[in-house]
Symmetry: C2
Subunit: 409 residues, 2 copies
C-alpha cells in the first residue's frame, strides 16, 4: 500500500545535512511503496504551521547533486521543544497528508522530538513511523563514532587553522592568536583545530576544551613559558564552552557584570575575553578570531567522505522506516582495523536524545605522543576528499533553490 | 657581469604574494646574469638585521608550485617606515652581499620604501636597482585596474557570504547578520562581499563602504524598511573603516569612552558595535561576523586567475630590473573590451606610494542596475578558477617551509 514520506530538518546547520536530504530523496523516489515526498519547511514548526514543499521534483541526479553541495538547510530549520498538547495536532496533520514515514534530521535536541512522537504514535497505535537521522558539527551524539557534518567542520578547521598559523607568524614580534571554535559542551571541534599540531607542526600550542576546567592563571603561564622557550607566536584554539573550575563559562562574570551598560553583553565571546586578558596581563600583540558560522556552513571546503556518509545515512533511514522501524536513529560506527571503514547502525533514540558525548578522558593529555597519534588517526579519515562541484554560468558553485513561501536566499 | 637579486615582502599578507615570490624566483633562476637569489627575512627589517635565506634551492618546479599554494608570506614580513639614517646602512649591506637588483613586494606603504631607496641609490649613483611589486587585498593601489591578492580575497568573500546567507535564513525569525570586511580606506572588499546581490540574489541587502559617510539612523531605517517589505533576514556587509559624517570611525566614540574599563577597547570592532546598536534599537536576533584574517589567507579558496597574474607580475619585475629600471613599480591594467584581458605595465613608484584608490563615486548608487552590472563585470573575471593543489601524504595541501631562524610554523 502506498504511503508518503515527510522529512524535517532541525537544529543548527551543517555542511552535510543537505547531502543527507539528498540521500533520503533519492532512496524514497526509488521506493515503489512511497508516493509523496514532502519537506516540512522549518522542521516540526513547519508541520504545525502546515508549511510543506514537494521534494519529488528534486529527485533527478542533477538536482540532487546541487542539493548535496548546497550549504546549511535547503528547507529551513527550527529550534523547538515539543509539548504534549501538540502531539494530537501533529498526528492529525500527518494522517491527513497521508504520511506513513516521518524522518527527522538533527542533533541531540532534535532527537527529543523523535523520541516523543514515536512514543506517542506507538501508544496511540498510529501506523506512522518516526526515524531519527543524526547530524551535528559538534560531534557530541552518544552511541556513535562520529556524526555526519563533523568531518566537514573538522576539515574547515584544519585548513583554516593552518592558514591562520601562517598568517600569524610573519612579523618579527611576539604575539598571541586565539581562535574560538564552536562546541559548547564538547571539545571535538577544538581538537580538530589542533590537527596541525598533531601532524607535527609547532602551532597551535594551546588547546582548551570544555571537558577540562580552564584556569586563567595556568593559561597565562603556559603562554609565558612558550615565549620563554623561544617561540615568538602562540596560537591557541579555544572552545566557546570552556568553564572555570566552578563550572562558570569563562568570561561570563565579566560579561554579566556589565550587562546593564549599552551593548556589552554582546561584546564578549570567550575569544574576545581572553584577548583582553592576555593584553592586560602579558601585554604583547593579541588577536582573537571567532570562527563563527563559517565552520558549520563552509560548503566549499566540505569533506567528500563526510558528504558520502551523510548521504548514505539518509538512504538508510528510508530503508529502516520502510522496514517498519520507529523510535530509532542511525549512528555511524567505525570497524576496528588500520583501514578506515565506517558502518551504519540503528540505535534506540533514547540512547541519543538530550545527551552529550564528550572527548574521552584518556585524550586530555594532549602532550602525550600516544594521545596525539590516536587523535590524528581518529580525525584524518573524516576530512578526506574534495567533492566535485557543479558550477553556474559565472563559474561559481550552484545552490539549490526550492519554491518556498518565506524562505528566500 | 653577474649580480645577485634580493627580494623582500612587506605589509599585510595575501593569498597571492607567495605566487609573486615564485614568479620572481623562477625568472631569476632562468637569467644567466643573476647568480644569487636571496630572500630578506621580514622585509627591509631583515635587510637591516642581515637575516637572509637562500632561495635558489626553491627554484625547481615542485618547490615553486608548493610555494605558490602556501598562504601568507613564506619569508616573513614587516611594517616599517624607513628613516634617512638607515639608507647608508642598507646600501652598505646590499653592496657587500653583491646585490644589484632589489625587489620589494607590498602595498601603498611598502612602496614608500621603494621610493626612498631608489631615490637614494640614484643620488649616490649606486648601481643597485629597486623595483616595486604590488600586492594588497584591499585593492586600493592607484594607477592600476586591480592588485594581485585582491582577486583571491574577493573570491573568499563571495563564497563565504553566499554560505553565510544560506546559514542566516534557515530559522523562521526576523534576524540581522552583519559581516565585517577588511579595507580600512576603501570599499573594494565590501563590494566583493556584495557580489551575491549583484548576481541577482536577495542578500546582502545593505553594503557600507568607507567612501560613503555612515549615518546610524539611516542604517536602522534601511533595516526596518526591509523587514516591512517582507524579507525576514537582513544581511549586511560592512567595511571595518566606515566613518560617520564627521569622519570618525563608527563605534570609536563608544570605544574610546570605555577605554579605561578593563579590556573594552578590544571588544568593539564595527561589527560588534552595530550588533549592539541593532539589538538595542530594533530588538531582533542579531549576529555579527568578523571575516578577520581568513579573507587574506584562505589559500584553499585562491583564485587561479589571481595567482597567475601574481606570478606574472613577479616575473615581469625581474625583467624590468634586468633592463635597468629603478624607482618603478608594476601595475595590472585591463584592456578595453568584453573579454577580460589583463596587461602588466610599469609606473613610476611615486604614483602609488602612500596613496589610496577609492571605489569610484559613480558606483555609490548600488541600487542602480547599470552600476550593479558594472561591478559584476569588474569583479567576476578576477575570482575565476581553482588552482591545482599538491597534497601531502595525509591528503592535505603542502606548504613550503624554508630553513629560517626565528620563523617557525
Amino acid at each position: 500500500m502506498a504511503t508518503s514520506i515527510m522529512i524535517g530538518l532541525s537544529g543548527g546547520p551543517s555542511t552535510a545535512i543537505n547531502a543527507t536530504l539528498a540521500g533520503i530523496i533519492r532512496r524514497a523516489a526509488a521506493a515503489p511503496e512511497i508516493d509523496g515526498i514532502l519537506g516540512a519547511v522549518h522542521g516540526i514548526q513547519g508541520v504545525l504551521a502546515e508549511e510543506f514543499v514537494d521534494l519529488r521534483p528534486c529527485a533527478d541526479e542533477e538536482q540532487l547533486r546541487i542539493l548535496r553541495q548546497t550549504p546549511a538547510m535547503a528547507i529551513g530549520s527550527c529550534r523547538k521543544k515539543l509539548v504534549p498538547e501538540e502531539y494530537p495536532q501533529i498526528e492529525e496533520i500527518l494522517t491527513r497528508k497521508g504520511i506513513g514515514l516521518f524522518l527527522y534530521v538533527g542533533g541531540n535536541d532534535s532527537m527529543d522530538t523523535v523520541l516523543k512522537l514515536s512514543r506517542y504514535f506507538q501508544e496511540r497505535k498510529s501506523p506512522i513511523r518516526v526515524v531519527g537521522v543524526p547530524k551535528t558539527i559538534d560531534n557530541d551524539l552518544p552511541a556513535c563514532d562520529h556524526s555526519p557534518g563533523f568531518g566537514s567542520a573538522a576539515k574547515y578547521l584544519y585548513h583554516t587553522m593552518s592558514e591562520i598559523i601562517r598568517d600569524s607568524v610573519i612579523y618579527p614580534v611576539q604575539n598571541v592568536v586565539i581562535a574560538e571554535t564552536m562546541g559548547r559542551d564538547s571539545g571535538w571541534l577544538t581538537l580538530s583545530a589542533g590537527l596541525p599540531r598533531f601532524l607535527g607542526k609547532t602551532h597551535p600550542q594551546i588547546l582548551a576544551i570544555p571537558e577540562v576546567p580552564f584556569v586563567e592563571e595556568d593559561f597565562l603561564e603556559q603562554i609565558r613559558r612558550i615565549f620563554r622557550q623561544g617561540d615568538r607566536t602562540v596560537v591557541c584554539a579555544v572552545s566557546e564552552g570552556i568553564r572555570d573550575p566552578q563550572g562558570t563559562y569563562v568570561g561570563m562574570a565579566a560579561k554579566s557584570g556589565k550587562s546593564d551598560v549599552f551593548g556589552h553583553q554582546y561584546l564578549s565571546g570567550v575569544g574576545k575575553y581572553l584577548e583582553a586578558l592576555v593584553t592586560r596581563e602579558i601585554g604583547c600583540k593579541v588577536r582573537s578570531i571567532e570562527l563563527n558560522v563559517m565552520q558549520r556552513c563552509a560548503a566549499h571546503l566540505a569533506s567528500e567522505q563526510d558528504l558520502r556518509e551523510a548521504e548514505a545515512v539518509g538512504a538508510e533511514a528510508v530503508e529502516l522506516a520502510l522496514r517498519g522501524e520507529s523510535g530509532v536513529t542511525l549512528a555511524l560506527q567505525r570497524k576496528p582495523g588500520a583501514v578506515y571503514a565506517p558502518e551504519i547502525t540503528a540505535v534506540p533514540v533514547e540512547r541519543i536524545a538530550n545527551q552529550v558525548r564528550n572527548v574521552p578522558e584518556e585524550w586530555f593529555q594532549l602532550e602525550d605522543p600516544q594521545v596525539r597519534e590516536e587523535i590524528r588517526a581518529y580525525l584524518l579519515p573524516l576530512i578526506q576528499g574534495e567533492p566535485e562541484q557543479l558550477l553556474d554560468e559565472h563559474g561559481l558553485p550552484k545552490y539549490l533553490e526550492l519554491p518556498m513561501e518565506g524562505l528566500r536566499f
